[in-house]
Symmetry: C3
Subunit: 136 residues, 3 copies
């Protein structure tokens, strides 16, 4: 059995940003040497998410607008701590902070339209995603 871990770093220029990371994850899987198993892709910060969905600009704009409606910027209790990112924490629940991808025959076993994304909801600071591969 093999276990292999790498970290991806992000520092987006905008507060909210959606970054495709399929190729970076696939490269880590290849370096791991695992041919059958799982790769966990998980944000290490609580105002950033990782998800699988379509790589289409219109849809990404739809997601952003929809999330703003579900969790609008407003004066949250959390802001009494000096933070201003309450809505980013809530958006994180909707999108979820992690995905587990199957590896089959040494490659990501994804459907035809599935792409892996990092969703930043409180950017302009360095943040990390852990990518851990486990399998044979």
């Amino acid at each position: 059995m093999r276990a292999h871990t790498e970290y991806l770093w992000f520092e987006t220029s905008k507060r909210e940003e959606y970054v495709r990371i399929t190729d970076e994850v696939a490269a880590i899987v290849e370096r791991s040497g695992v041919v059958d198993g799982f790769v966990l892709v998980s944000a290490m910060h609580i105002t950033a998410a990782v998800y699988v969905n379509d790589w289409e600009g219109g849809l990404i704009a739809d997601i952003q607008e929809w999330l703003e409606g579900l969790a609008p910027k407003k004066n949250y209790r959390h802001h009494r701590t000096g933070e201003d990112n309450g809505e980013a924490h809530l958006k994180n629940f909707v999108i979820h902070h992690q995905v587990l991808l199957p590896i089959t025959d040494g490659t990501l076993d994804l459907g035809p339209w599935q792409q892996v994304f990092y969703a930043e909801f409180d950017g302009r600071r360095r943040k990390r995603v852990v990518v851990k591969v486990l399998g044979v």
Copy 2:
């Protein structure tokens, strides 16, 4: 260590449909020979979800109505591509496209009311779910 992979195919007759798949997943776990480990059940399409919840018709109707309220059918930017399923992508975020089930003593280690469901949000076409077992 063992890894075992199978795929479930779906082609629902309705655009939106909820299909119980606990027995199919349990059968794959049995065929895998794994007695202690995990089984990932993950939709390979981005307008279909996999979840664990109650097998009760009233609740399923509640879920469907609630999702329609959170992500209504409307004219999304995504539809400029020719698609008409923007709301299906958004519902997918709320339900999440995958679950990881524990296997203990060779069987699914679920609570008394936990059932596994495939939730189709844009059906009437062939779609696939990957089921991957990893363990000892």
Copy 3:
């Protein structure tokens, strides 16, 4: 390869309650002897969730209020069965019932603000969470 399973029991005094369980999960990881792998923390009931987010009382109150807005208490179809917890099932979808945590160098590989929580939406009864460790 090692697999190790324990269960955490909860019986909250309130219907809705958020309980930090990072230390309990870390102790199970230590007892497992796994130095590199995954630990699944998954609610075994369908009206309780497990999530990773900030340990800050204001934010927890924000989450509770926000969930009440997204899935308010009302007369759901599910209540025809004699239950009164329809909203608890729906909140469970938003928060998700499980997390998969990476283990690196024998400890939980979490970011600086990541804490593990059990979220109870229909308490005052005994409920269980399965914690399963898999790795080397």
